[in-house]
């Protein structure tokens, strides 16, 4: 019978923490999807050898401290403005790998203008959009993406669409824009989903390296604290309630539209 200590040898290592992920313990709540996405992003930056050309733009929201966890150069944007910062960075530094990391309050509410125009210009950036249907950082208020009848701290009797409008499908919107090249909706609640999401992120990164236009990757996520569930319950609730309204899968996969030739 083999002892555990005989298995724990460097040559037997099959999964461990990426070197691009720092040793700082993440401030996220237990079971938060942010941690998983940070981790696979760090793994990809390491595997694709792009740490030296990566510049991240952090949002305002729970991921405001993303710069503490992934070991690349970062800028911290004002609320919703990450795509504008990324535009400024990439226009003047076209050979860098520039990405924004934004939540649904940041991207779909206060930053709706900036993201639409950045995608419409086809800025050569990767947008990672974490959609958990709620404002996590400020205490679980309604987001534009909050589902109909979903209870939040500002919709204590459930989201009333007569009063608050309908949950906003940002990813469907940006897929319509000629500037986007790869638009997909993913999740990260099971090993298979995380692996699939990582492949999508890899494709998005590769598109940026190949200068194909904006790649936009939504990750339907949980906020178990905001939803007031355990992490395992939150994953189940997401599958049952979020996925029917925010169905997973690729919406667009092409090069951004080429301009019409001038005569």
């Amino acid at each position: 019978m083999m002892e555990i200590k005989d298995i724990l040898k460097p040559e037997n290592l099959v999964y461990g923490k990426s070197k691009v992920l720092t040793d700082t313990i993440m401030h996220y709540c237990p079971g938060c999807t942010h941690g998983v996405i940070h981790k696979i992003l760090a793994e990809l930056i390491e595997e694709m050898g792009i740490q030296e050309k990566a510049v991240g733009v952090a949002p305002v929201g729970c991921a405001v401290f993303a710069y503490n966890y992934i070991d690349v150069d970062w800028q911290e944007a004002a609320h919703g403005r990450a795509p504008a910062l990324a535009t400024g960075i990439v226009r003047l530094n076209p050979d860098k790998f520039v990405f924004t990391y934004q939540g649904d309050g940041d991207l779909a509410s206060i930053g709706a203008g900036e993201i639409i125009h950045a995608c419409n210009r086809g800025e050569n950036i990767l947008v990672i959009f974490i959609n958990n249907g709620i404002y996590g950082m400020t205490g679980g208020q309604m987001a534009p993406t909050t589902l109909e009848n979903m209870v939040t701290s500002t919709t204590p009797f459930g989201r009333d669409v007569e009063m608050n409008g309908y949950p906003l499908k940002m990813t469907d919107l940006v897929a319509q824009l000629p500037g986007t090249s790869y638009v997909t909706r993913q999740s990260a609640q099971t090993p298979a989903a995380v692996r699939k999401c990582k492949r999508a992120l890899k494709k998005g990164i590769q598109n940026v390296l190949d200068k194909k236009g904006t790649s936009f990757i939504e990750v339907v996520s949980t906020c178990n604290s905001g939803w007031k569930m355990t992490p395992v319950q939150a994953n189940k609730w997401m599958e049952d309630h979020m996925f029917p309204y925010y169905p997973l899968g690729d919406m667009k996969d092409c090069e951004k539209e080429k301009p019409v030739e001038k005569n």
């Binding site: 298995i7 099959v14 999964y15 923490k17 313990i25 090993p191 395992v232």
Partner: protein, 74 residues
């Protein structure tokens, strides 16, 4: 037929006891410890180490990157 044997190391102090790895483990190897770490979390540990096949599912879903997985063919 070669048998596959795995083992998991959880960084007890980093683990927040979210339980996602427990849920993701196909062989029911992992469980949350009755003991707490210094931050008050019931950290994950190998309750049935003999059953581990080193599939890495626990590591893949871990939001805190605190799981390292090893695997050998015997």
């Amino acid at each position: 037929m070669a048998k596959i044997k795995g083992a998991v190391v959880v960084d007890n102090e980093v683990c927040k006891g979210c339980g996602l790895c427990v849920e993701a483990c196909p062989e029911e190897v992992l469980a949350l410890n009755r003991e707490m770490n210094s931050r008050g979390y019931h950290y994950s540990y190998m309750e049935n180490p003999d059953a581990c096949i080193g599939c890495s599912n626990c590591g893949v879903v871990c939001p805190d990157a605190c799981i390292t997985v090893y695997r050998v063919k015997i």
